[in-house]
Symmetry: C2
DNA sequence: GTGATAATGCTATACACCATAACAGTCAAT
DNA sequence: ATTGACTGTTATGGTGTATAGCATTATCAC
């Protein structure tokens, strides 16, 4: 843990807690570092929480999107979740195989399939969301309700762009 | 965008902004959802910012760890960054090939290699960190300094466990 | 000492996730 | 009528990470 014989003086002696005046000097000064660590931590917990339902975070989000917006198309789900059209195909195939939603041809546009949740899909989405919510309750136990809301707000400020479609790349 | 003919009533009518009384009802009520979206958004920007340096986020973090704690071992870097020992090998091989650090045998333990940054490594780490910091400045432009510090604090509360080694899984 | 346990650095490998390119079918606009 | 754009889809490659196992070395109990 400690630096051995010929070690250089500790660089971290320069700064204490937050990023100082100008730029970051330590890895832990970067918001992105904590963002990544927290996201991975949460994702692992979410995967474990969803495991009894046989769902992964992405399929759960897709199903939830269909439940929240019945009649949504696959492409619209992709734009809403920031994923690629090609990658939703196997996800929908699995959710379809399990009877969680139905595909209905759009009467006005033959390219589009409208997705509607089934009864089973509604129930599964509710169960899955409850499990993830329970995981979050444990994860955020040290945060007050106000702090959780503030965290959601600050995170939303980061990734939600002004354009309706959330582009996953900054510096557009 | 809008739901066609036989659409069900909008589920989102139940709640407004934050998570209501008990559990989440929408995907956007989950902190983890915003955490993921924000993390992906940041990661894309960090990758783009580091591209001129020929570094990726993980190698950059490894190099930065060596710079911040000269004499650290590979296993210690892995524990600090929450990565697997097996996965740091090619990362160190590349950083070594580029002459960013030196391996020095620990005089007290022949298993351990102590890692020390070279002059080139120090400069590269400084350049890389500056680029990432510049990316973050753009990404967090809408947040006040106080909000950025608060965000760092709240994120740290999520993933930093009580144990010195940050385990990336909740519900231990 | 000797044996059991554990840690380090490393190899090989497999899986999950995401991105890109391309395609046919359909729609809209000029 | 042709061009361009969108949808769903297939195929494919790259990346990040996790797992299993190995030889070497250190530590601890006996």
């Amino acid at each position: 843990m400690t630096v051995p014989t010929s070690a250089a003086p500790p660089v971290s002696a320069a700064v204490s807690a937050g990023a100082p005046s100008g730029r970051a000097v330590r890895l832990s000064d970067l918001v992105g570092y904590h963002l990544r660590r927290a996201s991975v931590f949460d994702l692992n917990g979410a995967v474990a929480a969803l495991e009894p339902e046989g769902l992964r975070p992405v399929p759960m989000s897709v199903l939830q999107s269909i439940v929240e917006q019945p009649g949504i198309s696959a492409a619209e789900v992709c734009r809403a979740l920031g994923m690629q059209r090609a990658n939703i195909v196997p996800v929908l195939a699995d959710l379809d195989r399990r009877g969680f939603f139905l595909r209905e041809a759009d009467p006005a546009d033959n390219r589009i399939q409208r997705l509607f949740p089934t009864r089973r899909g509604l129930e599964e989405a509710q169960r899955a969301l409850a499990r993830v919510a329970a995981h979050e309750a444990r994860m955020l136990a040290r945060l007050s309700p106000a702090e959780r809301a503030e965290l959601r707000r600050l995170l939303g400020l980061i990734w939600k762009t002004d354009s309706p479609d959330g582009a996953d790349t900054p510096d557009g």
